[in-house]
Symmetry: D2
Subunit: 282 residues, 4 copies
Amino acid sequence: MIEVGPNSYGKSAIRLVKVDRDVTPHRIRDLTIAIALRGDFAASYEQGDNAGVIATDTMKNTAYALAGEHLTASIEAFGFALGRHFLAEPQVQEVEVSIEQHPWVPIGDAPDAFTRDGSVTRTARVTVRRDGAEVRAGLAGLIVMKTTRSAFSGFPRDRLTTLKETEDRILATKVTAWWTYAPDGPADHDAAWEDVRSTLLEAFADHDSASVQASIWIVGKAILERHPELADVSMSLPNLHHWTVDLSPFGIENDRQVYVATAEPYGLIEATIRRADVDAGS
Amino acid sequence: MIEVGPNSYGKSAIRLVKVDRDVTPHRIRDLTIAIALRGDFAASYEQGDNAGVIATDTMKNTAYALAGEHLTASIEAFGFALGRHFLAEPQVQEVEVSIEQHPWVPIGDAPDAFTRDGSVTRTARVTVRRDGAEVRAGLAGLIVMKTTRSAFSGFPRDRLTTLKETEDRILATKVTAWWTYAPDGPADHDAAWEDVRSTLLEAFADHDSASVQASIWIVGKAILERHPELADVSMSLPNLHHWTVDLSPFGIENDRQVYVATAEPYGLIEATIRRADVDAGS
Amino acid sequence: MIEVGPNSYGKSAIRLVKVDRDVTPHRIRDLTIAIALRGDFAASYEQGDNAGVIATDTMKNTAYALAGEHLTASIEAFGFALGRHFLAEPQVQEVEVSIEQHPWVPIGDAPDAFTRDGSVTRTARVTVRRDGAEVRAGLAGLIVMKTTRSAFSGFPRDRLTTLKETEDRILATKVTAWWTYAPDGPADHDAAWEDVRSTLLEAFADHDSASVQASIWIVGKAILERHPELADVSMSLPNLHHWTVDLSPFGIENDRQVYVATAEPYGLIEATIRRADVDAGS
Amino acid sequence: MIEVGPNSYGKSAIRLVKVDRDVTPHRIRDLTIAIALRGDFAASYEQGDNAGVIATDTMKNTAYALAGEHLTASIEAFGFALGRHFLAEPQVQEVEVSIEQHPWVPIGDAPDAFTRDGSVTRTARVTVRRDGAEVRAGLAGLIVMKTTRSAFSGFPRDRLTTLKETEDRILATKVTAWWTYAPDGPADHDAAWEDVRSTLLEAFADHDSASVQASIWIVGKAILERHPELADVSMSLPNLHHWTVDLSPFGIENDRQVYVATAEPYGLIEATIRRADVDAGS
């Protein structure tokens, strides 16, 4: 006996830009949207029966059609609107809407000219079911560096260990972060997102790092302490290694000044920091 | 109270090439390896205590050091060897080793010259715990197309539906597939992988497609029927849309001959096909 | 006084797929096309006068509209057809059509199912002017490796030189090659391209390499000797370094067996090999 | 008779980061460097004679070795230092040093924590010969958008033209710009670069665009007028099309509010704007 197990389908990489020209400066919402449905779709697999299969092309149309009326507040609100729309179909049991927002900033005082800020992408994932919903917000692509106050020492050494202990290395990473809002959520998702990003950057700048793991803890703890509307925060941090170049063969001293930045291989540290009571309750 | 929840750390993008020159033609194993550990690491987060933190640099060294002795059979076997090595440390509870193998083929009859076959990547993920292990094998990047016998019709229409029904479209996708071997596994992982790939391609070529969903079912069912050593198979299939170009404004008929290939947006269909008894037993 | 100097404009990344279903197996032409025009366009810059500016959207339409009738032989022939079309406009003095062809191969004996061969991309660039035309053909993305018979020694050493001499290294590269056909060109561009590719691979496999430079010479010379219809051949070869891993700290001998494949930095060697009389005549 | 024609070789993708910690905030120079040599290298091709072939590995070492002493002012100055170093070898006739600088900005008032500014890359290319040198500076990856005051109309229409004329479209592009400094160059390359970028952004924001071509002219002319130290400026501008979505089938008006952003195909407009007397003199 063979059967269909877990499955989902939808449309990804829907590129939608909305411009509001009745504010100064104009407001640009530049989004990449993915919509995925889960529900009673076994017949579409096992019998090739498309009677319940909302076309992914229709999902794309829906994103554009709803943008005028429903993309007026946060991307989280737009995700909800899209989720509720598809949940109206009886065969749909869960809708997951993932949105990336690409920021633009005005050029000087111009009302109608912008540069894209390539420093960070705002992300949201709204999952809507008949019995509830979950909102996760996050950011991606935020590259940060500490030029001092980062160490890595005290780790175990065996015959395969060659890494030297260091009390002063460069710590560089590309932050992907996700956080879950408490059920009632923040009053203003845009403000909440800006606040969490600010806390993340401040905590990253302020702390002394004993390891990437310790940095995740310190930054994550600071976020949860300052933002009671968050239930947890997860980070996925590649360790973008910067190795001190050995210039001694050339008679040149290199006292933590010249580094080679490497792309491969990279450390990867991932963890969720959460409120203990949240866990106890689950 | 704030605590560390689920976490893992390791080294990714370890690029390792091993050449055996005592066979003709030479044998190239070209791998990209990721190692991730899970276990008693809370202190490394909460106290910045690195006493149990095997350096990711050491993981990299280990991959190269073990390659001579242990990378002699399949990548699955090498994944096991790496997994068992790290599991020897008491703080480690689970090791996940993910390996991509990039195939090379000899040039003609040459014993020592090769071209890289960019058509597919073989993948494996070995997860080792004290109480057991799991092996998943797969492939990625396999781009395939059906030029006839692919339809999409009978789907629901609402006011936002503009897609026309079609009994003859191009179906193109980039296959990512994963399968789980039964606990005792195949006798020969290399042969098993080749066989599954062959079945996948044959079933893809043979069937009439009512939708991407139906294709996943038919191909996945064929794989499970012909390969009893598999417990399940999962596929993630982007629908790489090829749209018939409307040339009628130019007085040119285009009877399914000229298409525009598009990259964005794309449909995405993901499902697991499994043996029903496997599910009942879990 | 400020003026417009050299300029061109056009449409890039036109993705066009043509399927001929009246042959067995079906024939797929999967192309990425770029069209660029040069000519009397100064007014479009200096006065914002678009009277002569053929819309790039029209260029895209033209590629699709001409594909039915003119994309029946080689991509070189299609490039000519597109070039001549735009040259009919008096303000256009030169049309450059660049085409990439992505190969597909049938699955077994199937007439209508294919896999994309990711091992190489065929390229062509046709430049058409009122007083003549030039055809360059080429290939890109062909990754090759020699596992023996590749050396690099005898190079100068100064105080900044640390690289060891080697008589047996791995040579790996990703070939981008371009060649110019003699004015009357080959009778059959498809056959000519296949032949040049075969010669390139054979010469790469056969020769002993003293350096990437020497390999370019040997392979390029073989191509020109065997293919009199070519005037020159150029290659751009990144040296995809494979470094022998030093395992001696771990008590393991590594006699050219285990390598780390690197992406950054890479050597880059570029040269044109040509017939001396061709040069003398120009 | 077959011979080597134009050729060059060198090292690309040298990733070098230098941190100066004796200023507040610390100063990060994050560079990607490519070095290419041209000269008397025919013997390395035709005879496999490496006697004159400075190893590309040595070029990499040199970049790191010289960074301490010579990477203290602009990347242009560092390019000169690298160029002169290699030109000391008699077989070298020309050295081309290409440098990308990735900007970092301090987090708040922190002296030692930074975010990478992904909005633009600064570029320089210094070419040094025995009889002179050329410095080109530039920028890449600067994505900009005008939400009003951009038109495209008055272009010729033929039977293959379907694009509608518009007096109000979105203009979006990813700027790659290059400029040549007059022989004596600017006193301060860092300040000059900042000034040119500012002018480019201001002119982009201020002008009314009749086409991408007209925008290149207006922006380029403004740059040359305000910066007499520049001889010319070139731009390569992809037209990142934003198409108004037709929502009328859904009974929704879309008055230039909701757009689909597209990646393929794209217009590509490239031109050099220069001082006429510079041209007359050449």
